[in-house]
């Protein structure tokens, strides 16, 4: 067994310390060490997006990042998307649009879609589909997911005015 490394990172706005083996991925650290199990493993090789998190403001597959790489960095997971005051508009619109069935891909989609609408608040359908092409959903056929993201983007733009 390899020696563990002490890491300090900001996770969902809180300074967090943990020990991890150099071979553990960020996904493993989030789930197995920090019990932030909202981030899901679907493939463990970067093909499904279920483990999407934000790392220093960039959307990443946490299965492709090592735990030791987040030393001193900022990570936001699905658990950091809702505020104390309530759900993020994306979460609310996913519910209203029935944009989830089994729900296993939902955290990854919400993290990815949030990154999109923050970058491109006026993304059209094609841009949304392009941006979310790294997230697999097997239940919905994506229709209601795309509509939820469109609705949330509109609501966020309205609030920003």
């Amino acid at each position: 067994m390899s020696k563990k490394v002490h890491i300090t990172a900001t996770i969902n706005g809180r300074e967090t310390e943990f020990l991890c083996e150099p071979r553990q991925s960020l996904l493993e650290v989030l789930r197995d060490e920090l019990r932030l199990t909202g981030t899901k493993e679907g493939c463990n090789n970067g093909n499904c997006g279920a483990c999407n998190v934000m790392l220093e403001g960039r959307l990443v597959n946490s299965c492709l990042v090592l735990g030791v790489e987040v030393q001193g960095k900022e990570v936001t997971t699905i658990e950091g998307v809702a505020s104390k005051d309530g759900l993020h508009p994306l979460q609310q619109k996913f519910l209203e649009n029935a944009a989830l069935q089994c729900g296993i891909c939902t955290p990854g989609f919400i993290v990815a879609a949030k990154a999109l609408i923050e970058q491109k608040p006026k993304a059209n359908e094609q841009q949304i589909r392009h941006y979310l092409a790294g997230n697999l959903c097997r239940c919905t056929g994506y229709d209601k997911i795309v509509r939820a993201v469109q609705d949330a983007a509109k609501e966020c733009a309205g609030k920003a005015k």
């Binding site: 067994m1 083996e21 071979r23 553990q24 493993e28 789930r31 197995d32 019990r35 932030l36 199990t37 909202g38 981030t39 899901k40 493993e41 679907g42 493939c43 463990n44 090789n45 093909n47 499904c48 279920a50 997971t77 699905i78 658990e79 998307v81 809702a82 759900l87 979460q91 996913f94 519910l95 209203e96 649009n97 029935a98 989830l100 069935q101 089994c102 729900g103 296993i104 891909c105 939902t106 955290p107 919400i110 949304i128 589909r129 392009h130 979310l132 092409a133 790294g134 997230n135 697999l136 959903c137 097997r138 239940c139 919905t140 056929g141 994506y142 229709d143 209601k144 795309v146 509509r147």
Partner: protein, 758 residues
């Protein structure tokens, strides 16, 4: 109940009860279970597709620091040779056991041969590398027709063909040959003006749920077992584990966690018995999770198949005869869904003379399991393509042809049943009037465009369900049921209880409970949950209503027959002043004799079949062979849509799985029988960039066999897409595709050869 009754809850779109947990990451799925002292299990899988296991040496793995337990099939009781009823039909226990940990032989690449539990997943993986397995490799057969030949490599020395009920005299890979017959097939062909016969091949495809299989087991000091897992049927897991390990079911508690997709693939156990054995040996709880490659290589795909269909019609466009030869790959062990495919192959149509021959054939691929309308999609690809060709020859619009020949109430299927009220004709009528079907399709340079239609049938299931519902003092109801919720079924079940009680959907708190906390419930499968568990909830509501009437009568001191329950209100028929709402009476229960619990256990007949007609426009790039879906409309008879959004979701999701099956998805094998594309990168499921919006059109032909008219909706949407797309591709490029998937390479080849045979 008359379906003209205006519903208050049914047909509305409340937010699902488990929704907030699922959008915030709080919902607990199987892999999210962590127990004190828990260690991690991993499985060693066969690197070869067919071999005798000469020896397994686990000593080096056992000696690795951090390893807590190692298991092989020697740790499973000898299953003997017996068949057990395990929740989804009869299962050969020896086969099921060998599929969990191989015994004597491996029959496909990816079959588990040993398992390790260790302090971390990484240590477990290191230990797997230290296990030495000596294999004597054997010749491999992975194609259904090759496996049927005399002299083909045999997977099982003791498997003999059961042909039309009689046992065969020599070992064979053909497990079963059966026939469905109606009328006199030769007579039907004699009456025909047009006959079309074509052969079709479909590739092995996977359900592709995003959540890998997982199981966490705890072996308790008193010999009881607790299992947390991702399953479509907690009681089925209990029965299978009990049977495989020789443990009475009363000593096993299965706690179903949230399930990240199943589509039929999470009914058979894979990891659960292994996790229990490891937990017993380690003396600690063990969690086992599959990798994505494990899921592809080791869990049930749906079969590849060879189907020959011959159909005939008279000059007026009426079908006279239909014949099918259907050979499905069961994978390593008998049990492909060819029988279900044969039930569905011609079920959309009223045909006087039918003959279907079905063959269940073992090959060196993973044991197939159910996948959304198992067997029916393969069959519809063949039938609906041949129908399209008949329409072309007779110069009849394909929807007009379906109106003329579509099955309706009273039509007898070749496998026996006579249809009750079904909506085949209605789906065609609605499709015909839909703007999509009327829109003119323009071609666009080298991008050829075409429109196709196809219909599909799935029979749906009933099976056993139960529910208990307790009235809370605040006027809400806690509903406990056993159907694991794959796609919003908690809510559709709760809505039926709410409708029956005259309360709001939000006033019902549904939970899916473990096997010790809820009465027996069959699997979440066969599109049965909203139908049957919904019915259990309806009956539990009737039980509550009876008791509330009785209680109000006691409180008011009037005979119970002078109290009625209407629209969420309990009132006296003799004294208009005596009236209580559901919530008002609920608040009085504790002081007037105690709480009220409604309960029900149902095993309903009256299942209504599902029928669908899909329209698709495609664009084919004749340089690259890429097919793009331009527009997709899926018309379906849904009986009564309890929660229309989730009904639409089933249709959209099923259609898209069908699109993936049609265009890209396949297990690609090398000549050693090794799957070469066991990842989401190379096994190409549709992404949102590959698709347009999918328009679902709900046609409500109430099922007379259900109190609210419900018929299953989940499975039939996957059935028409491959044929509809093949028919659209034909309109675009003039070539009939006869092999799935219709991937770019195959389209280019078809354009070059002028036919779509391979």
């Amino acid at each position: 109940m008359s379906t003209s009754t205006p519903f208050k809850v049914i047909g509305t779109r409340p937010i699902r009860h488990d929704g907030v947990d699922k959008v915030t990451g709080r919902a607990v799925y199987g892999a999210d279970v962590y127990l004190p002292g828990m260690v991690h299990g991993r499985l060693l899988r066969s690197p070869v597709a067919h071999a005798r296991i000469k020896s397994i040496d686990t000593s080096a793995a056992e000696a690795l620091p951090g390893v807590e337990a190692v298991a092989t099939s020697a740790d499973l009781p000898d299953p003997g040779d017996r068949i057990a009823e395990l929740g989804e039909g009869a299962i050969n226990v020896r086969h099921l056991s060998s599929n969990c940990l191989a015994r004597g032989k491996v029959l496909y690449k990816g079959q588990p041969v040993a398992a390790v539990a260790a302090v971390s997943p990484h240590v477990a993986e290191e230990a797997l590398k230290l296990i030495k397995v000596e294999y004597e490799t054997l010749p491999v057969v992975i194609d259904v027709r090759a496996a049927m030949q005399d002299g083909a490599p045999l997977l099982h020395d003791d498997l003999r063909t059961e042909s039309l009920g009689k046992p065969g005299d020599k070992p064979s890979n053909i497990a079963k040959h059966f026939q469905f017959q109606k009328g006199e097939i030769e007579q039907g062909f004699k009456e025909a003006a047009v006959t079309v016969e074509r052969e079709f091949h479909t590739a092995t495809v996977h359900q592709g749920y995003i959540e890998p299989h997982n199981a966490t087991a705890q072996w308790n000091a008193d010999g009881t077992v607790t299992l947390w897992c991702s399953t479509q049927g907690s009681f089925s897991v209990r029965a299978q584990v009990g049977e495989l390990l020789g443990i009475p079911i009363s000593r096993i508690r299965v706690v179903p966690q949230e399930i990240g997709g199943g589509f039929g693939g999470k009914i058979r156990v894979y990891l659960e018995p292994v996790a229990v054995v490891l937990a017993r040996k380690a003396g600690r709880p063990v969690k086992v999770v599959m990798s994505r490659a494990d899921v592809f290589e080791g869990t049930g795909p749906t079969p590849g198949s060879y189907i020959k269909v011959k159909m005939a019609a008279d000059a007026s466009g009426r079908l006279t005869a239909a014949q099918a030869y259907m050979a499905y790959e069961a994978g390593a062990f008998p049990g492909s869904p060819v029988n279900m495919g044969a039930m569905c192959v011609f079920a959309c149509y009223d045909i006087p003379h039918v003959l279907v021959d079905g063959y269940d054939v073992v090959v060196n691929k993973p044991a197939t399991s159910a996948y959304r309308a198992p067997g029916a999609t393969n069959a519809a690809f063949a039938t609906e393509t041949v129908i399209d060709e008949i329409c072309e020859k007779l110069k009849i619009d394909p929807l007009d042809f379906r109106l003329k020949n579509g099955a309706k109430e009273g039509t007898r299927r070749a496998d026996g049943p006579v249809f009750p009220r079904i909506g085949m004709i209605e789906t065609v009528e609605v499709a015909q009037k839909h703007p999509h079907y009327k829109q003119v399709l323009q071609t666009n340079g080298q991008h050829k465009r075409g429109r196709g239609v196809a219909s599909g049938f799935w029979f749906n299931c009933g099976l056993k369900s139960s529910a208990t519902a307790s009235v809370n003092a605040d006027g809400s109801v806690s509903l406990v049921e056993g159907s694991t919720d794959i796609g919003g079924s908690r809510t559709s079940i709760a809505m039926q209880l709410a409708e029956a009680l005259g309360i709001r959907a939000e006033d019902v708190r549904p939970i899916v409970a473990d096997t010790d906390s809820v009465p027996y419930c069959d699997v979440t499968g066969g599109s049965r949950v909203t139908f049957a568990t919904g019915w259990a909830a309806y009956e539990a509501a009737q039980d509550i209503k009876r008791q509330m009437v009785q209680r109000a009568a006691t409180i008011w001191g009037v005979p119970a027959d002078q109290v009625v329950y209407e629209d969420g209100t309990i009132r006296s028929t003799s004294d208009p002043a005596k009236k209580l709402t559901f919530a008002e009476l609920a608040a009085k229960l504790h002081a007037t004799g105690g709480t009220i619990v409604g309960r029900a256990s149902v095993d309903p007949t009256g299942v209504g079949g599902g029928l669908a007609t899909h329209i698709v426009d495609v664009e084919v790039d004749t340089d690259t062979g890429k097919v793009t879906i331009l527009r997709y409309t899926a018309v379906q008879d849904v009986g009564k849509a309890i929660h229309p959004s989730y009904v639409e979701g089933q249709i959209q999701g099923g259609a898209v799985q069908g699109i993936g099956w049609a265009l890209n998805e396949e297990y690609i094998y090398n000549d050693k029988g090794e799957m070469t594309n066991a990842s989401f990168l190379d096994y190409r499921m549709p992404t949102c960039l590959d698709l347009p919006m999918i328009e679902p059109v709900l046609v409500e032909v109430a099922n007379p066999g259900h109190p609210y008219g419900v018929r299953g909706v989940g499975e039939v949407p996957i059935v028409p897409p491959p044929a509809a797309i093949a028919n659209a591709i034909y309109r675009a490029i003039g070539v009939r595709m006869q092999t799935l998937p219709m991937s770019p390479g195959r389209i280019v080849k078809a354009l070059h050869n002028g036919n779509g045979k391979s």
